[in-house]
């Protein structure tokens, strides 16, 4: 058994207590500020609440660790800096194995717990529900196009979804890797050529938001944005019926344009 560091004098203990006090207060302030900041746009899906909670919990773990470590570092640098004339090495301290084990174990436990919690959340928010709307999303340079196979709509340029009903997206790419992202839904999924990726979302508010391409796809990547409209079920049925009719009349580019713009 190695000897514990018995060199911690009473003066050192006081310094450590001061450091700890400053660190704890700073952590609380940091956490308060972090939680008060409005990080995300309005929650508009069932997943949003759980994702935002997960985010807050991660912040509450990460911010205190960062603030505490920085407090110790800055305090030490300021308080124990070499005064003029001090050229020695300082007392030979063995170190503190117990402390080192503690400060490895605690973050390990925190990270593992966060991982398990995240896994559960991500699993839950995409669980399949009954009565889905199925939308086939195709990304190409530089626009998205949509199809509602079960509704008989072959091609639409705008995405219209019914509120409070789960939509399953089957996402494909016609050329390079894109990524289908609606920030308000808290969902993002890559569109990879050669694969069909799947994600599910249940919108909870009516409104109109942006679909953003989130994977660099070329010159027009920055402009690859479209609108998603979440509407009442009746309006959704009406819109689908219109598209189906247009498609049946041989209209190629379905959809009446960006009227949701």
């Amino acid at each position: 058994m190695e000897e514990p560091a018995r060199e911690v004098s009473r003066v050192n203990r006081r310094e450590m207590a001061k450091m700890l006090a400053i660190g704890v207060v700073a952590s609380l302030v940091g956490v308060a500020v972090a939680l008060a900041i409005d990080w995300f746009p309005a929650e508009s899906s069932t997943a949003a609440d759980r994702i935002d909670t997960l985010w807050d919990i991660v912040l509450m773990c990460a911010v205190p660790i960062f603030v505490l470590v920085m407090t110790v570092a800055i305090y030490s640098v300021v308080r124990f800096r070499a005064r003029p004339g001090h050229t020695g090495d300082g007392p030979p301290i063995h170190g503190n194995t117990k402390l080192e084990i503690i400060w490895v174990t605690i973050p390990f436990v925190i990270v593992t717990s966060l991982a398990i919690y995240s896994w559960i959340v991500l699993d839950d928010i995409e669980a399949s529900e009954q009565d889905q709307v199925v939308v086939e999303v195709t990304g190409r340079q530089f626009a998205w196009s949509f199809a509602y196979p079960e509704e008989g709509v072959k091609q639409a340029d705008e995405l219209v979804l019914p509120v409070d009903r789960q939509t399953e997206f089957k996402i494909r790419s016609a050329d390079v890797i894109h990524s289908f992202w609606v920030p308000e839904f808290r969902m993002k999924k890559d569109a990879v050529p050669g694969l069909t990726t799947t994600t599910r979302v249940t919108p909870t508010r009516t409104g109109s938001w942006q679909i953003v391409c989130a994977e660099l796809c070329g010159i027009g990547h920055a402009t690859m944005r479209q609108r998603v409209r979440v509407v009442r079920p009746e309006e959704y049925e009406r819109w689908v019926a219109e598209r189906r009719q247009e498609g049946g009349q041989g209209g190629e580019a379905g959809g009446s344009g960006e009227n949701g713009g």
Partner: protein, 310 residues
């Protein structure tokens, strides 16, 4: 020095002369291969550029003297006894040569990486200037994509990764009490691979079609269906990676085999307090939190197993 001496001695004159030789060799390989296969056209600019991106830097490295010792040894010529003439630095010119001193190489690394940091930073400034207002200010979308791609590649492959190699090159042999790194000539080669990679990435702006615009991640299929600039990135990271891998090998061997006698490979020394303090003057000032176990992040600490004489 006479012209003949200048051109046969390792250095920048010889390197400059080697560049066109490398280009000719590269072009020759491509043309010969295409002729043998019967492919048209014979002089394919893209193919020639790609092969030259490999042969020209290699010619530069040979010219500047990175491979001199190994070529001599491989050719069976009697080895020149090491006179340490290219060791250490006595003037600023020594930093621009192939130098096997780990301290010189460390400084070369750090200065080079900071230079590329500045270049990458300038690109970031250009991007920010472009983004001050909506719409295009002074770059078109392809160039903007090229800007952030080269910016990121320079920052990652030519600053963050090699700067630690530079600091470690300077500091680690000193910390473990070794006279130098285990493979000083490989160390020098590792350094000289870096400016090549950096220049290649910056040079992609001059390729037909512009700089590589696929980000530093360069995902396929975007990066496989893109103009020639992408090749500059691809081969540039080969050189940067070769530099990094050789350095890693060097450090491993150095740290494992070249520690001062008695130094154990552990993070915090197991020296007894008393014995350690008898070998260094004890400072009684309170609150000193430094220790004789240095903050070594790359290797063992300088704790000594006391000998019987202590």
């Amino acid at each position: 020095m006479s012209l003949a001496a200048r051109l046969t001695a390792p250095g920048w004159w010889r390197a400059l002369v080697s560049l066109p030789i490398g280009a000719v060799v590269g072009a020759g390989i491509v043309v010969a291969g295409r002729a043998l296969y019967g492919w048209e056209p014979l002089f394919d600019g893209d193919a020639i550029t790609t092969v030259c991106l490999i042969t020209v830097p290699l010619a530069f490295l040979i010219g500047i003297g990175c491979f001199d010792y190994w070529f001599r040894w491989a050719s069976g010529a009697p080895t020149v006894p090491e006179d340490h003439s290219n060791h250490g630095a006595y003037s600023w010119r020594d930093y621009f040569k192939v130098n096997t001193d780990h301290k010189v190489i460390g400084i070369q690394y750090i200065v080079t990486t900071f230079a590329f940091f500045v270049i990458g930073g300038l690109m970031a400034m250009l991007m920010r200037a472009e983004l001050t207002a909506p719409g295009s200010q002074f770059v078109d979308p392809n160039t903007f994509n090229g800007l952030f791609s080269v910016h990121a590649s320079l920052m990652i492959f030519l600053f963050v990764i090699p700067v630690f190699a530079g600091i470690a090159n300077y500091v680690v042999p000193l910390m473990i009490g070794a006279p130098d790194m285990a493979f000083p000539r490989l160390n020098a080669l590792s350094f000289w691979l870096l400016p090549i990679a950096g220049i290649m990435m910056v040079a992609s702006f001059f390729a037909p079609g512009g700089a590589f615009a696929t980000g530093w991640t360069a995902y396929a299929p975007l990066s496989t269906e893109t103009p020639l600039g992408q090749t500059f990135f691809t081969i540039g990271v080969q050189f940067a990676g070769a530099s990094s891998i050789a350095t890693a090998l060097n450090f491993l061997v150095t740290i494992i085999t070249m520690r001062a006698p008695g130094m154990t490979f552990c993070w915090c020394g197991r020296s007894s307090r008393r014995r350690c303090s008898s070998s260094s003057p004890r400072r009684s000032s309170p609150g000193r939190s430094s220790s004789c176990c240095s903050t070594a992040r790359w290797g063992p600490t300088s704790s000594h197993r006391p000998t019987a004489a202590t």
